[in-house]
Amino acid sequence: MHTAKNRREYRKGIKKALKNGFQRQALNRFAESYRESRQEAFSGYDLSALIREIAESRDASIAAMDELYKEFKKNAENAGARVHFAGNAREANETILKIARENDCSRVVKSKSMTAEETMLNPFLEEHGLQVTETDLGEWIIQLRREGPTHMVMPAIHLSREQVGELFSRVTGEPVKSNIPELVRVARKELRQRFIRADMGISGANFALADSGTIGVVSNEGNARLVTTLPRVHVVLLGLDKLVFGLHDALRNLKGLTRNATAQAITSYVTWITGAGPCAASPDGRKEMHIVFLDNGRSLLARHPVFSSALRCMRCGACANVCPVYKMIGGREFGHIYIGAIGLILTYFFHGREKGRNLIHNCLNCQACREVCIAGIDLPRLIKEVQALIRDRERPAVLDAAASGLLTNRKLMHGLLRAACHAQYPISGGGPFLRHLPEFFLRDHGFKALPALAKKPFRDRWPEIKSEIPAPKYKVALFTGCLQDFVYPEQLEAALRVLYRSRVRVDFPAAQGCCGLPAYMLGNKHAAKEAALYNISSFNPANYDFILTLCASCASHLKNNYPLLIGDIPGREPKVRQFCDRVLDFSSFVREHAGFKKDWEEGREKKFAYHAPCHLCRGLGVYSAPKEILKAAGLTYVPCPGEDSCCGFGGSYSVKFPEISGEIAINKLEEVRKSGASILATDCPGCIMQLRGTAEKQGYDLQVRHTAEILADCE
């Protein structure tokens, strides 16, 4: 549970987390094995169809939340349960305390419930004199340590067997060996006594079936079954978002939930409870059953056109499993109660701006979570939308404000960049990197060498280097993006050589400016909209077959975010669509349309590894084009683990969280080094800046190059 008051404090916590060697190693191993086992779990499944079905079903349930609640209440009460509605966390906790008092309960056993974590039920009940025992092994461990969960499914993933062994020795007063089966046995024994003595069981639920008043509880350990069976009173605490129409929805969503969460086809137990059944511990032989639904903003969220999709979440935890930031720092610093990408979003809505404002920046926008989400939630977009909400309510940080102001003022920015090019000479010495930056300026940013600005930006070189191609095969316009324009114009020139050879006519509409992604990343939606409108007006898409970019981030922003930002402005829609439809990345264009020369000179170094830019693979769905071209050109491809995981750049992310950004880049380069490749090819100047700069500073003997540059060398 992150509790930092400001970003400085938050970064302090992060630096500490980065030094936690055990956690780093555990999460690293987990990320690798999760990837494989998930794939295996879904083999034979049409995964995208399943995601679509689940998303539709979740949306329909969310839209019908009020009616489903009424129907559920009627059916569950007919079956002998009592159903309560709690508007917020406090009401939920007080309702449960009241039930305990009315039934004279003092000893509670609990099975896992994220909703109970959300309302901080345990401390509340303890304050009022109840004894509460978590019975899920991981939850019990963190309860004993007085910590919050660091993963929604594996709450104690940050702890080692030795730490648990010490803890259990302290709790039992006897020495406990740190081997895992022994630790599990100790828990079985200790907790069984608590089960027997308990007079109240509190569980969560994964599904609430409106048409029968049934709750569905998913578990592996079997503790939820004991919690719902042995004590005479059973209280269920769950969010309104758990309501579904009926069994079909629950069974289908279950197929996705367990496979995505733990790569299991199904968990050991799925328990369906309808109403108050027989109970030997109860004086009248019948269970006292209460079901408490928590709203806490859910019914408002359900009505929002964009944010309602956050309620699709079924708490599988996958968005943390694939997140490169989570892998580095773990859940303590990557969520308040809810962990992972969804945690960044829900924290704001369920626990407020104060708790959400530092967290929300900790996203690389790498899209890995969007790709893995079983409910099809566009998590990166929601994160940006929440960031924009927070930004609109607060004065943005000076850096953010200055940066997004500058990014939208093209004339000013281009002028400053040209001037800076001349001013940098003393620190660049005329070379490709800024070598003599003072240490105090760099501090945490020192992990990578920063590139020098080009002597002459592409826009100023264009008049000299452009060529007329008679009877061209294709007519394309270049969208260069700022980084290649001002820092790496040679990548664009390399692309020109390749394109001209294939008789492609290239145009460079010089009025174009920044694509607007940096402003969007800072949560400045207004500036991002302005940039989008401006760029669309600078192009006449009808004149071109394609609008090409060599920058994956620009490409995916133009193609995916422009329609979201400005697609609904009356009258603009056709041109926005015309523009976006034509946007294509360089490698796909070369592979599918233009073709290329295939003679990588014998004897030249030819083993290459590939880094898949986030915005190319997950943003545009292009996974193999750059690799295929290079292989066809005669180079040898060497696979590398984590090839399509983020390089850690994330634009302004690397400025906000340099310590995380640097660790991610170094991890990546380590993998490449182990692969034995001497070239690292990629398709995004942002990734190149990050990886080439880190390789330079950290002493890796590796050429980091754009696919276009390598292809251009096939002379």
């Binding site: 991981g138 594996m154 069984r192 049934t214 079954r225 328990t271 511990a281």
Partner: protein, 195 residues
Amino acid sequence: MLQTFVRKAGQASAVVEFRPDMDSVLDYALDICLKKDSRDVLVSEDSSQSSPAGEKIIAAPGLEDKFVHRLKEMCVSNAVRLVTSGLNHYPGGIDLGLTHADWGIAETGTLVVNTDGEDKRLAGMISEFHVNILPESRIEANSFDLEDQLGKRFASAPDYTSFITGPSRTADIERELTLGVHGPLQLHILILRGA
């Protein structure tokens, strides 16, 4: 479908065996009960129902009378205690619980067990070994195939239906899979041929 069921249940760490009739089911259950280690006594002050040290306990709630008689005879001659009701008096643990499944789901190797009765529920929860009898004809391909039947059952509430797939498990410490945390350490599925 049967093959899929066997494979999937196996993947979930269940032991799957075929049995020709109920007699051989009872033989199997008693046999593994006798061979297993004595149970771990989880509650030391186990009250009125405590059994002599080393005495094994089989719980078989919901078994047809004629089989209860047969099993009882077999238990007596092997000094095993047979319990058919009041399982909540044995929270310290039972060696083996014998129950019936209503259906099987091939896709996931899952048993669907009606556990409305608390005794039947506990037999599959607090026993170290859970032996479940699944008639061959009751295996369906997919959970969707059981929607109607389950829907009817939920409609005649109160109802407590369990999907059981493999023994109880946890991976909460260092993600190392460990079987038998709160529930059974082993699950044996006996598929009854021709039933």
